[in-house]
């Protein structure tokens, strides 16, 4: 009825054309979506003017349009904008179609974003949901198994420990191989920023819940716009931004607890006593393990302490995130407040972080847009004051090896510091006492922010200038109590104040145009300057006078020392870059990128590096012949080739420097680093070919092959002694490394009914690497140049990087229980510690001992997995949802040094439970030789301790329940979800050590895969709420 009236009215208005032209009038209408639902907050604007309005909650609008208005543009978020001509009608109703998500999905690459369909490079995108609300210490840990070809290993469960990220295998032999991380265009300081004994992960200062997406740039084409620093790949992190017309308030919280995810079994008190004494008596020595009279009542106290249980606890975790986002057409904002408290399962170990973020974006007028993205966080880490690992009271060395037949607390309630009834010269310090009485804390404040202005010069041409700042200041405070542990007898305090500062400034010109309808061009030119600096101020006090007063000054300590310095970072980068993306009929796509960088770390002559790349892609689905394959929605074939670089090469390596030294009483200046004026960028040449497909409208498949050769790797090259350089070494670009592999990523809804959904995301990567050459001698290289006997893997030309290099274990002789090894010729030699004699197994003749020269290169056995990836599945049934994430890695080895020390026969510390399998009778087949105290040769470094690390890990399991709309609407909230989750629930593996991902040497390339007394990873259970308003 109303419609007829309106029609009549409009007809009537037609009869007054002249009057019409001169007057404004009101038009109305309703905007609906494809299902007939009203679209609120849709923008209705008269094209070419500022005249507009938004639809109300019913989708209705009423707009007073000026005379001469020609058309309306109606748009809404996530919907395709429509334009309709304004005619004489009064009412203009419109149906908006949802945007084809995959067609319109944008990907952040370098300094711009481009449409996913136009992408010619290899980029994996991980949505922010994968990292949000996961109980991890740092967001990079949540990336495990999420992107094909990206291997993320957390070295241990210690707060702040290294997270090693390897994209497509190792990118270098001795230089840094961690990818560049860029947060909203800001290159951020990362890596291990710990100053004293505990590591500190630079990425832990970021709040994971603020992350919108993480793009992993993998091939040369995607990376080359960061060419100079992107040789190991680039992680582009984008934080959440506000959306016009969508004002939301979200509160997310979870609370739960941590526990140790694995437990190595060691002997209990009774078995310990008998085993140690058997060890001793077999060697003709007196028994030393005995229960003692701890409480002085005249009776022996049969205490049985499980030190692991004593030191491990259920640590509380909690996270609270309040995020507000929204905005108008002009200004959008995203702001959040976050508090995260992660109490590790190890006593005392903890990380607390509070952070605040403000992202603001404002269109001041139609040609100027400005914005800021900023975050401030304060992270307090409570590290272990024992030192970690192999220090005697460290975790987990202490709890694994401390005597089980003594108690944790003495009769007076204080920590028990004695050795019970055991007859030995000294004891391990009480691990619980040391963990609680010593500390190594870090208080870090970090500001990461950027401010930009973007000007539209002419249609399609934008100029953007952005200034970035990453400022970190940290205060480390360490104390060793004079009563126990490393500080026993004197007491020690150390403080370090350190700063790391990165500022950068870039300017870009971006041109977008569509020429003659068929040619899409996106051109970029830019310049960027980056400067990184650092400093530290260190103080130490030794010999504390009164443990109550720990401030380091001469009143409180016997000796006070101070030292200032640069914390290893002092460099800068100037870059000039440009790129063109071209698409013809949206079918044939090509991209060319070029970047030219100067890094201060190289000498003037070799400072500049040029990094070009090119890629082409063919969208087959745009071709007519593909129309018959209706199930193929998108099929793109792409290939790329390019050169990227690496300048992560240390501190002024090219500079020739002198340092002060002494000639007895006279001071001298001697050459310390000969430098190398010819030192230049490490370069990677990468070839990539891949297929992206979208099938059946909902299944995404990506299959890629890559081949990357790294040349000019910076290595220490042994040179003639006649040159007279310290160590006869010069740092030169001489190594070559090759990586090739295949990646597959599949994402598909397996089952999709009205009530039940099941989606599977699967990715798999196969990688093979080979060291092509090392130095001029073709030497095999170790990670530590000083003692080649202290490491277990090498980089040898012709072999894979990190191939293990060990003496071969020959088993235990069932006849006599003696340990056996193979010499370099394969002869089995057995060792009898009673006579210190080595004899050949075959004929019993005496022979020489097995030595470092009998080490053999174990071809194909490396810590780099051959196949790795993840499998994520999500289910939803009515209001319930569930998700399970698996991570897997096959075809790699780990050297279990932890286990080797738990079988040491030459001390009386606690041993692995498996020592009960020791040989006792002739004919017994076992892999633990007869107990004989003092035999330190049987447990020496050998293949006995090299184990397959293959594993499948249930990384995350989540079950949630979302309150149905009917209930929520009543309470006027948009969303309420309850969930429970478990992180690191279970690991299926045959590996017997701490963890198959264990990595004792931190972020290294050759020496990965050594399990060397780092704590287990934690398992975390949480319950949480997602509330949206």
């Amino acid at each position: 009825m109303r419609k007829i009236l309106l029609l009549l009215l409009s007809c009537g208005l037609f009869l007054l054309p002249g009057v019409l032209q001169a007057q404004s009038r009101t038009i109305t209408g309703k905007v609906t979506d494809a299902s007939g639902n009203a679209v609120p907050n849709a923008s209705v604007v008269v094209k070419g003017t500022k005249v507009g309005t938004v639809t109300n909650t019913d989708g209705m609008y009423s707009l007073n349009i000026p005379a001469g208005a020609k058309s309306l543009v109606i748009s809404s978020v996530n919907m395709q904008a429509e334009e309709i001509r304004i005619g004489p009608d009064q009412v203009y109703n419109l149906t908006l179609k949802a945007q084809d998500a995959s067609m319109q999905e944008v990907v952040v690459v370098g300094y711009t974003t481009i449409l996913k369909r136009s992408l010619t490079g290899s980029v994996s995108k991980v949505s922010g949901e994968a990292v949000a609300n996961k109980p991890v210490l740092s967001f990079d840990q949540a990336l495990t198994g999420k992107a094909a070809g990206v291997q993320v290993n957390t070295a241990s469960g210690l707060v702040g420990d290294n997270v090693t990220i390897r994209i497509r295998g190792a990118a270098s032999i001795t230089s840094g191989a961690q990818p560049l991380s860029v947060l909203d265009g800001i290159p951020i300081t990362q890596g291990d920023l710990g100053q004293l004994y505990n590591p500190a992960n630079g990425l832990a200062d970021l709040n994971p819940n603020d992350i919108e997406s993480v793009e992993v740039l993998k091939d040369a084409s995607a990376v080359s716009i960061y060419g100079s620093r992107g040789s190991a790949g680039v992680l582009l992190i984008t934080t959440k931004k506000g959306k016009a017309g969508q004002s939301t308030l979200n509160y997310d919280t979870y609370v739960g607890f941590n526990e140790a995810s694995r437990k190595i079994k060691v002997l209990n008190a009774a078995d310990y006593t008998t085993t140690i004494n058997k060890l001793r008596t077999n060697a003709g020595l007196a028994a030393v393990a005995k229960y003692g009279d701890i409480d002085g009542d005249g009776k022996l106290d049969t205490v049985d302490t499980d030190w692991q249980d004593a030191v491990y606890r259920k640590g509380l975790v909690q996270n609270h995130q309040l995020a507000l986002s929204g905005g108008s057409q002009r200004t959008t904002y995203y702001t959040s407040l976050n508090y995260n408290d992660f109490q590790n399962y190890i006593d005392v170990n903890r990380q607390k972080r509070g952070s605040v973020r403000l992202n603001l974006n404002s269109k001041l007028n139609d040609w100027l847009q400005i914005g800021i993205n900023s975050q401030f966080s304060r992270t307090k880490s409570y590290g272990l004051g024992t030192g970690v690992g192999a220090f005697l009271s460290g975790i987990p060395f202490g709890p694994l090896t401390a005597f089980p037949n003594i108690p944790v607390y003495g009769p007076d309630g204080d920590y028990y510091l004695g050795r019970g009834g055991n007859v030995i010269a000294s004891n391990l310090p009480n691990p619980k006492a040391v963990t609680n009485l010593n500390y190594d804390n870090r208080d870090a404040r970090r500001f990461i922010g950027s401010a930009y202005g973007e000007v539209q010069l002419i249609k399609g041409l934008k100029f953007k200038s952005q200034v970035n700042l990453d400022y970190l200041t940290a205060f480390n405070d360490n104390f060793w109590n004079p009563d126990v542990g490393d500080g026993q007898g004197f007491g020690l305090a150390q403080t370090v104040h350190s700063e790391a500062n990165t500022w950068s400034w870039f300017n870009t010109l971006n041109y977008n145009a569509v020429i003659a309808n068929d040619h899409e061009v996106n051109a970029l030119a830019g310049v960027e300057y980056t400067r990184n600096t650092s400093m530290y101020a260190y103080n130490r006090g030794v010999g504390i006078k009164d443990p109550e007063f720990r401030i380091i000054n001469t009143a409180n300590f016997d000796e006070v020392a101070a030292e200032n310095g640069i914390a290893g970072i002092d460099d800068g980068l100037a870059s000039y870059f440009g790129g063109i993306n071209y698409g013809y009929k949206k079918k044939y796509l090509a991209t060319v990128n070029f970047r030219r960088d100067a890094d201060s770390r190289f000498g003037k002559a070799y400072r500049w590096g040029a990094f070009p790349s090119g890629s082409v892609a063919w969208r087959l689905t745009e071709e007519d012949f593909m129309d018959q394959f209706k199930f193929v929605n998108e099929l793109k074939l792409r290939t790329s080739y390019g050169v990227t670089g690496n300048s992560n090469v240390g501190y002024f390596p090219e500079l020739s420097t002198y340092e002060p030294d002494t000639y007895a009483d006279l001071g001298v200046l001697t050459l310390s680093n000969p430098g190398n004026a010819k030192l230049r960028w490490e370069r990677h040449k990468q070839f990539n070919i891949g297929i992206d497909a979208v099938l059946w409208g909902n299944t995404n498949v990506t299959l890629e092959y890559y081949n990357r050769k790294t040349i000019d790797i910076i290595l220490k090259n042994p040179v003639l002694a006649t040159l007279g350089f310290p160590g006869n070494i010069i740092t030169e670009n001489i190594g070559e490394l090759q990586n090739q592999g295949i990646e597959l990523a599949v994402s598909t809804p397996v089952l999709h009914t009205k009530t039940f959904n099941w989606t599977v995301n699967f990715n798999m990567a196969w990688n093979k690497n080979k060291v092509l050459s090392t130095n001029a001698n073709g030497d095999q290289l170790f990670d530590t140049d000083t003692d080649p006997n202290a490491v277990f893997s090498v980089a040898k030309p012709g072999e894979q990087l990190g191939t293990f290099y060990l003496i071969r274990w020959g088993g235990v002789n069932p006849a006599n229980g003696l340990p056996m090894f193979l010499d370099s010729n394969g002869n089995q030699k057995q060792y009898d510690h009673a006579t210190k004699a080595w004899t050949y197994l075959k004929d019993g003749t005496t022979t020489s001992q097995i030595a470092a020269t009998d080490r053999v290169l174990l071809k194909g056995k490396t810590p780099y997995p051959k196949i790795y990836g993840g499998l994520s599945q999500s289910f939803s049934y009515l209001s319930f949802d569930a998700a399970i994430d698996l991570q897997y890695a096959f075809g790699f080895w780990v050297y279990d040094q932890t286990r080797s020390t738990l079988f040491a026969y030459s001390n009386v510390r606690n041993k692995s439970e498996d020592i009960l399998d020791a040989w006792t009778t002739a004919g017994q087949n076992t892999d633990v030789p007869r107990l004989y105290y003092g035999d330190n040769l049987w447990s020496q470094a050998s293949t006995r301790w090299l184990e397959k690390g293959d594993f499948v890990r249930i990384r995350n399991v989540q079950i949630g329940y979302t309150l149905p709309k009917s209930i929520i609407d009543r309470v006027k909230i948009t969303r309420l979800r309850f969930y429970i989750q478990a992180q690191n629930l279970y690991t299926f593996t045959g590996y017997k050590g701490i963890d198959p991902e264990a990595n004792g040497f931190g972020n290294t390339n050759i020496g990965l895969g050594v399990d060397r007394y780092r704590p287990y990873l934690p398992r975390t259970y949480t319950v949480g709420i997602n509330l949206g308003l």
Partner: protein, 489 residues
């Protein structure tokens, strides 16, 4: 609006170019770059001192060089076989002793060459006289290093009539990169001796007589030390005329007053007496440490690796070492703590606690013996002048009741020479001379005991292949065939 934008672009370009300079040209705050090392006279002098520091290396003149020359001789035996097959003349091409000595020696040479190059490039920063003096010091260091290296790695000069046997590469250039010019073939022994003599002679002209500071005088090159060393070099070269000439200048006091101390152990208690001409200094914080310091090897409460052999003690095998010679007071028994009571040791190096004993390289007693030997060989008969110098040394050590030598004491010129060599053996024992003195006199090593002190090793003839070290195999490999290995290795 467009003009404003143009201005902005222009401003960005200007700021950009200064930004580029600022971010790419960064100087380290905590390192001294090479150009700065030569920026002031004080720093240049310190760079020159680094050349001496190179000689002080624990693998070289800080102690080991002296030890090796004596381990190869018969006066000590390697009780613990700490030096492996060295005492048995059966090193391998992979020997660490050889490679460490080679590396340390060439590092000292390179330090000297670097200092010379730096001085020449920055000559304007120094006074002319000081520059000459510093360059002279570098040449002195270079000569010392070359002399010790050539005698370790090449047969002694008199092995051939003209010293043409293979020696070591002669390096006089400073290198700043992996320069192919460092890959030199082995020069002949004669060439190296010429280079040593040239360096010392040129240094002699410009070195000071004194630094007006006793410490510097005893640890750095002086005219006295250059001349003394020249007398030894010429002696090894069998050029007795020149050996006598340079020794005479030192004895006559042309370069300062040197004189013997009243007792031998006074020289080892204090290294800055008038008898010391040049030594390598150490102190409690800068010394070769527990595995390389001279006292650690020689002293019974240290490692006690090197015990005095019966060859030295017995008057049968060491006929000039009288039973009442005061120098026998420098021989002490071992101690129970190290299970060495059965052995004898020297107490020339005693500082086990701080290991601050200096390494004696040249002392006045040696110059007297150089002169005596040169004069004795030049003269036609038994020479009185030679006997006088011999007596100066011997009289300090002989018993009061023993008579000094006279012309009548010697039946022939050769007898006098033998007496001088015999005195040299005793006086300079355990100071790194014995084996090379045997070699330069074409003598064989006899009466040499194995590590138990009682089993005799076979006699090692003059000119045997393993009298010298192997060229380190790793250096031969790195040179890709430019260096050739010594025979027998």
């Amino acid at each position: 609006m467009h003009t404003i934008l143009l201005y902005i672009f222009f401003a960005i370009a200007v700021i950009g170019s200064s930004c580029q300079k600022k971010v790419t040209e960064i100087k380290p705050q905590d390192l001294l770059s090479s150009d700065l090392a030569f920026s002031t006279p004080e720093r240049i002098e310190k760079v020159v001192l680094a050349a001496y520091d190179g000689l002080q290396s624990r693998e070289f003149l800080g102690g080991r060089s002296l030890v090796y020359v004596d381990v190869l001789g018969e006066d000590i035996f390697d009780r613990t076989l700490y030096f492996g097959e060295l005492s048995r003349f059966s090193l391998l091409g992979s020997s660490g002793i050889a490679s460490d000595s080679w590396t340390a020696g060439y590092f000292a040479i390179a330090s000297a060459n670097r200092a010379i190059a730096g001085i020449e490039a920055n000559i304007s920063k120094l006074e002319a006289a000081k520059a000459k003096e510093l360059i002279a010091e570098c040449k002195f260091v270079r000569a010392v290093a070359n002399f010790y290296l050539i005698n370790f790695f090449g047969q002694t000069f008199v092995f051939t009539a003209d010293g043409s046997q293979p020696g070591i590469p002669l390096i006089t250039q400073s290198f700043t990169s992996n320069d192919a010019a460092a890959n030199q073939p082995r020069s002949s022994v004669a060439n190296i001796y010429n280079a040593v003599i040239t360096d010392l002679t040129e240094a002699l002209a410009d070195l000071p007589d004194t630094y007006n500071d006793t410490y510097n005088d005893k640890t750095r090159g002086t005219k006295g030390s250059a001349a003394s060393l020249l007398s030894r070099v010429y002696l090894y070269k069998a050029d007795y005329t020149n050996a006598k000439k340079y020794a005479k200048d030192v004895i006559d006091g042309t370069y300062g007053d040197y004189e013997l101390q009243a007792t031998v152990d006074a020289v080892f208690a204090d290294y800055t007496t008038a008898e010391t001409i040049w030594s390598i200094p150490h102190n409690s914080t800068d010394n070769p440490n527990t595995n390389n310091a001279l006292p650690m090897h020689y002293y019974p409460t240290g490692r006690a690796d090197l015990a005095i052999s019966n060859s030295f003690i017995s008057t049968v095998t060491n006929p000039y070492f009288a039973a009442d010679d005061k120098r026998r007071g420098m021989i002490i028994p071992g101690v129970a703590a190290t299970n060495t009571t059965a052995y004898k040791f020297t107490r020339k190096y005693t500082d086990i606690t701080n290991r601050a004993d200096w390494a004696p390289i040249i002392r006045y007693a040696e110059v007297l013996l150089n002169y005596a030997e040169a004069q004795a060989r030049l003269a036609t008969g038994v020479d009185a002048d030679a006997i006088a110098k011999l007596n100066t040394v011997r009289d300090r050590a002989k018993a009061a009741t023993t008579l000094s030598y006279t012309i009548a004491s010697f039946a022939s010129k050769q007898a006098l020479i033998d007496a001088i060599l015999g005195e040299r053996r005793i006086e300079l024992a355990f100071e790194g001379h014995r084996f090379w003195d045997l070699m330069r006199t074409k003598a064989a090593v006899t009466n040499k005991y194995d590590s138990d002190g009682s089993t005799l090793l076979p006699s090692q003839p003059f000119g045997a292949k393993k009298n010298i070290f192997p060229i380190p195999q790793i250096e031969i490999d790195k040179s890709k065939g430019v260096l050739s290995q010594n025979d027998g290795y």
